[in-house]
């Protein structure tokens, strides 16, 4: 018997009630299997429903049609194997860096001393030693992202859901964070579902890139293996000829969707 995929979407369709009445279909019939330990990037034009799909995997959103399997078990309620790195700031603004990082452990009733010790280690690993007592508003955007990364990583999730986590950062900070993410992942090799609209970022990081078509009623349009060697450096790998070739292939898929979405937005 082969191991069950970490996440499997089976014919997932998502509809919302539109504000002006009627029903708005965001995703149609999404079926994907993500093997355990895979770094999967999901790309698509903005507004196509990528984040919605991630919320389904997180268990924050229950699809009316289709189902989600997590390690072979149908998902009900919050996905207990997963941690979620949100696009927006999601730290508790009224808690210090240390308290924020250890939050997941506190919720799991880990003893305070033990949680604190582990949290300090993670804070050091994301390079924020000395900032333990700061509140989130006293940190830069990049530092807050590091705290969020430590916060989601500390609970030892088997699945990591990331929704354009570095989208709001400047290019330099972003590349540093991408490399740090790869370093962390290299050690633990969880399953990662990484949402981005940046194809370069997707290829540089992932083992597999899935293209979602323009909404409404978005579908899976393409599915590509990324066979570039690891460990990678996100800045250098962009100059690799294989990278560029792959980029061209996926981009030809993505380009039409981006154009559709752009034209729909301008109509």
């Amino acid at each position: 018997m082969t191991a069950a995929p970490a996440v499997a979407f089976e014919g997932v369709t998502i509809r919302f009630r539109a504000p002006k009445g009627g029903v708005h279909t965001v995703l149609t019939d999404i079926s994907l299997e993500i093997a355990d330990g895979t770094f999967l990037a999901i790309v698509g034009p903005s507004g196509c429903g990528k984040s919605t799909l991630l919320n389904v995997a997180a268990g924050l959103l229950e699809p009316p049609d289709g189902r989600t399997l997590v390690f072979g078990e149908p998902l009900r309620g919050i996905n207990r194997h997963a941690a979620y790195l949100f696009q927006q700031d999601a730290l508790l603004p009224w808690r210090t860096v240390l308290d924020n990082v250890m939050l997941g452990l506190v919720f799991r009733s880990v003893a305070r001393e033990q949680a604190e010790r582990l949290a300090l280690r993670f804070i050091e690993r994301v390079g924020l030693r000395g900032f333990e007592d700061r509140f989130p508003h006293q940190l830069s955007g990049g530092m807050r992202k590091r705290v969020a990364l430590a916060q989601s990583w500390i609970v030892g999730p088997r699945i990591l859901l990331m929704d354009e986590p570095f989208g709001a950062l400047d290019v330099q900070t972003r590349q540093i964070m991408e490399n740090e993410l790869l370093d962390l992942w290299q050690e633990s090799r969880q399953t990662v579902l990484f949402i981005t609209h940046d194809l370069e970022e997707a290829i540089a990081l992932a083992d597999r890139v899935v293209v979602i078509s323009a909404g409404p009623a978005a579908r899976v349009k393409g599915d590509y293996e990324v066979t570039l060697a690891r460990p990678r450096d996100v800045a250098e790998i962009r100059l690799n000829p294989d990278f560029m070739q792959l980029y061209k292939r996926i981009w030809s898929d993505l380009r039409d969707e981006v154009r559709h979405s752009y034209e729909a937005g301008n109509r």
Binding site: L60, N79, Y84, F86, D89, W94, R95, T96, L103, S152
Partner: protein, 272 residues
């Protein structure tokens, strides 16, 4: 103490708008306005432009306050009013926060009680004074009850709103980290609503005192409201004003206490 804040050191710091105002200058001007006001009042009364019978004179009012405090006459009355206001403040705040939490978190409760809350809030609560005196007697219980009805709604509406306004991303993040419903309340909802709750506390401490004083005014044997009512009964305007000023001084002192607590509990906020 939490982390050192270098911006509080002696060094000069950047400011966003113009030169910061000199604190002593502001204080001097504030005292100046007060003295000017009092001097004008005194002068108008002395020259009978304002009838001293109806308007009294600042010198007499402060003399009376001094006598009240010196002889200790006012102290038990102040203590009673303060006790009533504080009891009402604590009970009303506890009920308001509790009800706000419950209704904000349980949709069905909010739906059921919505019309009743509106109706009760529309009612001029002071009208309940006489009925509370019938129910709870002339002692402090009737005053506390009246003040609670005033405090409750202010705190309730603010708590309700504060909890409804919790950032959904922050809430979902806590849920993904496997917070239980109780942990969500403690770590997310309450701290988030705290800023709203505090802003309501400033208003409601004033209202707690209004409830207490009005209750005393309607019927009591002690308290500042009773003293004011007695003074009014013998056309002693000076006594009415003295009671009035003492009451507002009391509110100011309590409000300063709330400010300190607020600064501590909300120290995580930018610019706090």
């Amino acid at each position: 103490m939490s982390a050192e804040r270098p911006e509080q050191a002696e060094e000069r710091v950047a400011s966003t708008g113009g030169k910061p105002l000199d604190r002593t200058l502001v204080l001097t001007l504030q005292i100046g306005v007060f003295l000017l006001l009092m001097a004008t009042w005194e002068a108008l009364s002395a020259s009978k432009i304002l009838d001293p019978f109806y308007f009294s004179r600042p010198s007499e009012i402060f003399a009376k306050m001094a006598v009240w405090i010196y002889t200790g006459f006012i102290l038990p009355h102040l203590a009673v009013t303060l006790l009533e206001a504080l009891l009402a403040f604590i009970i009303g705040t506890a009920l308001g926060v509790g009800a706000g939490l419950a209704l904000a978190r349980v949709e069905i409760l909010a739906r059921i009680f919505d019309p009743y809350i509106r109706i009760f809030n529309a009612l001029p609560r002071v009208i309940l004074g006489p009925i509370f005196i019938l129910w709870f007697g002339l002692g402090i219980a009737s005053k506390v009850a009246l003040a609670v009805t005033l405090v409750f709604f202010i705190v309730f509406f603010n708590t309700f709103q504060g909890i409804r306004e919790v950032d959904p991303v922050v809430r979902n993040n806590a849920r993904m980290l496997q917070a239980s419903e109780r942990q969500l309340l403690r770590y997310v909802y309450l701290p988030s609503a705290l800023a709203w709750i505090f802003s309501s506390l400033h208003t409601s401490i004033g209202f707690a005192l209004v409830g207490a004083v009005v209750g005393e005014y309607l019927g009591a044997a002690e308290g500042v409201g009773y003293v004011v009512a007695q003074a009014q009964g013998v056309f002693d305007t000076t006594g009415v004003f003295a009671g009035l000023i003492l009451t507002s001084a009391l509110v100011l002192v309590i409000d300063m206490g709330i400010n300190r607590l607020e600064r501590y509990l909300l120290r995580w906020r930018p610019g706090a």
